[in-house]
Symmetry: D2
Subunit: 405 residues, 4 copies
């Protein structure tokens, strides 16, 4: 057992952190990024930082070099990703924002050569953006077996019909990857669905609205209708019926990527809390001299530390044994991390008082993101159920053996 | 000891609740209310509901009949105020929104006949709005002894200079009530400050910006500079040096009014949680059949019940012994209630999943308000300190007696 | 709504509190009370305090005067019971300890004249003690429909067979009230069981052991076997088949009596915490000057206050509408109160440090009692389920109406 | 970064776990171990298991081979120690129980050859036990600068006078290691104290009582008076004035050893919870099928996992950089781990209901130990203060630099 971090990764992270401070944080104080249909993939201010990032080799850390990425070993990516997570603009500035990073990964792993050429390459280059379209308002997101969107084969095409929401990145995307049922309703759910690439200029691809979320009106999430959307059969990803398998390959690592970034958010909020607590005086001493604030700081330190170690451990498990083996670990960090993230940001706000809830600081934005963290990627309760079932399985078996059941 | 609620108040609350459902809740789905300088006091949609409310006698429940209000006994107001709190638009629709209600109360109690005629009457009528301007960015809000804004007497005028923020209602207000230092810096803090009425058209009254709070860009809070604002000496409220006393008279009841409304918010979120839990199916049963959701519901029920009883008890204490006697009780409900409010809304959101964080429901708005509740009216920690000091005082005395100290 | 407490009850409570301090608390530092078969009903030290209590009229507050009790109105009993709860010896010293108080109540309400003469009168006089024998190790206590102990009619007798545990008071009791199945296994559970008086000198009444609980080896809980215990048919309480109904009548008020006493425990722990915090110095100031300790004190104050108001409200509901109407309120205070009790005692211990976990103070004993509080009288989770089901019922109905289900 | 555990350690742990199940757990159901003055070092039942352990090489895992121990690398000891912690009898059965293990470590590191021969060797062999005597009732344990016990040099002797409590292991010990002031009261605290070996047969070494703790009357903690205890000057450990330094060397690793064992306690309680949840049926299904129990299980899993990783990380830090460098990490696991331990044991008890609080299972004992865990080795709040101060130090410096302070 060895917890040492290689010096070159320490250095990379330190440099990247400076890059964030100099170029990315200032974006937070600028015009908010509102995605628009027909607009550029990225606003000008972000594009400028992207250019600088590319020049430094800070680009697409999540992809192998052959795919146009930085080719970082997975364990190192954890550390890098934490730094990127320190600002909501971090991932976009280095070409790693959701849902594009996940879409790029599955295109790289399951896409045909043609799909890679047409959809992946401009996406990785930052020339386009993409949309991931899975959740439906009528169906509990945690139980995707009952998704209703269909893709019916008609000659050389599929015809997609359905109603999705929380389709991230739809406004201004070049294409959406859509989860649709291609098999009969009673087929094995693991074969019932396919992932299909739907270009957003396909007739029948209708963005109904951006969904305002926790006060943000930024169009990052969209409600989309697919009305007789006709796309070439070659747009299916990885073969018909592989939707579930690809979804799992996408969502598992997607969750750990989010966790890495939450560490960065929590760490930055923690640092702001510490700084402000040493500066603000009340009733004759600084806040940092008060024992309740000290308790908060120590507890936050412990919680972030725990979360980071668990995330590194889950990454190591994925790296050494594969994603399936790490399923429990991924679920653990999902709900544990969301709790830590909320707790740290909440306390950082309380230390700041009125300033903490204003938009002058990123804390208010972090707070709202933290609330989402307990819902997206599967609500905490579903992950807890997953963990409990896996933990309990051997006990159930032992009991049945004993009782002859 | 008698917990019975008089039937006429039960009836009033039931009717008022229907009024809310029919006329007020629909406002939540309309255009958000953004306060603007130079605009009407209220948007057209709210004005229409206000007219209806006036016709039904649902107006200014917080004021005695002589002041133009409904003249409700204080203990009854608790119940009414809970119903009003069920929507962020409730108070405005019946002429009781902050900071106008508090400003009206101190104008009624401390204002001269002329001040009442000129500022209070149109305010109570809903023809104008007002601003309360106390907090300063440079000073911890919980320790107002060090507020820096000054009002210097110059003949028949005061000249006000200072920098305020979280001055609520400034955009579009007719006047602000400003807390300013009129005594020397080393005077007894209880005599050092005055409340002064500053008409917003006074030269030097400068709204620097609306402060976006938790994602809301509605101008309800403003940053204001006072630059040589010259107002008649007759604009001082209740006499020079009475600022602290008036602030206390204003803030104490203001806190309990907020608490009453938080009960309404919590109760509405609770009802939405229960309804959704019985409707949403996941993994083969409704959410309401799951034991963890049932735990949340029972705990929320207990917490709201506790909070309501404590608020009623504090109101009874104010009613029977006066506000000073109830200081501990008010601090208790402030932090206890803010915790309950957060907890219930948080769980209601979690039950709703993605729908809970969208703006399609008021839950997301309630969630952000709940976060503010732990900061405005004094951060929880200050109220806890107040309670602890009062509780500990007799023990300290006893100890000093024992040790001869 | 009126929260005033009548002056005569305030006075009674003040006097009773002094009585506790002078005569009852000293028992805590004496020899622990270990119940023994064949011993006196009470140890000598307790008997001495009982005599004094009787002389002052502090006796059997839970019973009407005709039954030999103090005849206190129920709402006043809440306040008295809180004071009694301040010491684990309080109830025994005034003839109100469990399970005797509950047994006395059902004997009074459901017993025949002969049963009252033979069993109730010496019990109320404090000459005997009794046992309540319901829980079985093989059956979840929260679901009593499956209790296995049987009482089979055989001429003028019942023959009782079964295995019970957590039969409180068995050691040294004169009789046990036993819940046994007298109807067929498939009968309506509400008619399947009877309560039967089993004198402890009946052959076949076998105390297997005292059950040590949380480190206490005091025999207050016993494991009992009933082996062909033959008792007169006249020993059935209130008629065959009424066991369930009597159990409900017994357990509901039993729970609220416990809650009243928990308030007393919490209040005493709170006072000890406050006193010690003002006395103990560490790192140059008293503990009471530290902001985290102040937070604990304020939160404890709020929690006890909430718990007391809820308990009073539940008592008022029972008093004005009957126990059935108050079922939700009773469940609410059961789990809410157990949480409050634990929280306050836990913090009181932490303030005391090493002294807090030693037996020099009653805090350690309170702590262990507080843990039991979440289990006896039905585990918290069962009460939460009860509350949730009652709350959700109208939503379920509305849903079924809407969906035509 | 590598989380792999070497196969030989996995095997050792698996074997040791079987050893625990076969030989150590049965001790829990036997006669409790009550330490007695003049008795054997260990009760017969424990001695029998010790012999078996020695034969298997399971002995004194905390010491290097030269000192008579197993010579396990520190990082491996973490895993072993977790297994030992699964039973309160585990450490004694392999010669590693507190305070002997810590006393042995400082004797080995700081003792003279003669001290090792006379005191360490029989201690390591399990022929004697020892006492550690530092805490005083009059002084906050967390601030040892004010300890009052003195050791005055008188020729070739020291004369020790003082009053200690929570002196662990005093009953039946061969010697105590006592922290006493040897320098003037105003000397640098880091030079003011010495550790002195006091044989328990020294006249003036008076055990006043065993201190019952959380219901345990086992004499593990004692109140001791030193009245003119005269011991040879050669009994000072490591040289006069080194008491503080040695205490720090002892207490730091002592804390991490406790943490390792708490993991074992938590893990065992967790396993019992899982087993019972799959066995117990209530309301028609097993407890393990209920979503609230599943939540508890998943949260416990996450918390134990976090605690274990943090403990391993702290151990690695100690191993690679020394104990001083790991001071923050040790404080973090102290309070984080105590919280986890309590939470898991508490939930395990709740799942078991009445059985969980009886002494039929070790859970009740674990529960009481868990409460102590937040107090001994320094109360949680002191460790939080330590962490906060270290975290805040650079922010304070930066602030002073900025303000020129």
């Amino acid at each position: 057992m060895d917890f040492a971090i290689p010096p070159e990764i320490r250095d990379l992270c330190a440099n990247l952190r400076r890059f964030m401070e100099e170029h990315v944080y200032p974006l937070e104080r600028g015009e908010p990024w509102r995605m628009e249909v027909g607009g550029a993939a990225y606003p000008r201010a972000i594009r400028a930082v992207q250019e600088r990032a590319k020049a430094l080799g800070y680009w697409a850390f999540h992809l192998p070099a052959e795919a146009g990425g930085a080719g970082l070993p997975f364990m190192h990516y954890v550390h890098v990703n934490e730094i990127l997570g320190r600002s909501p603009y971090g991932p976009a500035c280095v070409g790693s924002q959701a849902p594009d990073s996940g879409n790029a990964e599955i295109l790289w792993r399951f896409g045909s050569a043609e799909q890679k050429e047409r959809w992946l390459r401009p996406l990785v280059d930052g020339k386009t953006r993409s949309c991931f379209s899975m959740t439906e308002p009528e169906v509990a997101g945690s139980d995707p077996r009952w998704l209703r969107t269909t893709a019916v084969r008609d000659g050389d095409h599929y015809v997609v019909n359905g109603h999705k929401w929380f389709s991230s990145g739809a406004h201004g995307a070049a294409f959406a990857i859509v989860m649709a049922r291609t098999g009969p309703e009673d087929a094995d759910p693991h074969r019932r669905f396919s992932m299909i690439i739907v270009p957003t200029d396909t007739p029948g691809f209708i963005i109904e609205r951006g969904i305002p979320v926790m006060g943000d009106d930024d169009n990052h999430h969209a409600e989309v209708r697919y009305e007789d959307c006709r796309v070439p059969a070659a747009n299916v990803l990885g073969g018909e019926g592989r939707g579930f398998a690809i979804a799992q390959e996408r969502l598992g690592p997607g969750r750990i990527h989010h966790c890495m970034r939450w560490i960065g958010v929590a760490e930055r909020a923690f640092e702001q809390m510490c700084r402000y607590a040493t500066e603000r005086e009340v009733f004759g001493s600084t806040l940092s001299a008060r024992a309740n604030i000290q308790d908060w700081i120590a507890e936050a330190r412990a919680d972030i530390h725990a979360f980071r170690l668990m995330t590194l451990h889950a990454a190591w498990r994925i790296d050494s044994e594969g994603q399936q083996a790490a399923r429990e670990e991924i679920s653990l960090i999902k709900f544990f991390g969301a709790r830590v993230l909320y707790g740290v940001v909440d306390k950082a706000i309380q230390v700041h008082g009125a300033a903490g809830v204003s938009e002058d600081l990123p804390l208010s934005m972090f707070y709202r993101q933290a609330r989402l963290a307990r819902i997206y990627d599967g609500p905490d309760e579903v992950h807890k159920m997953v963990v409990a079932r896996r933990v309990l399985a051997p006990y159930e078996s032992a009991r049945l053996t004993r009782t002859g059941g």
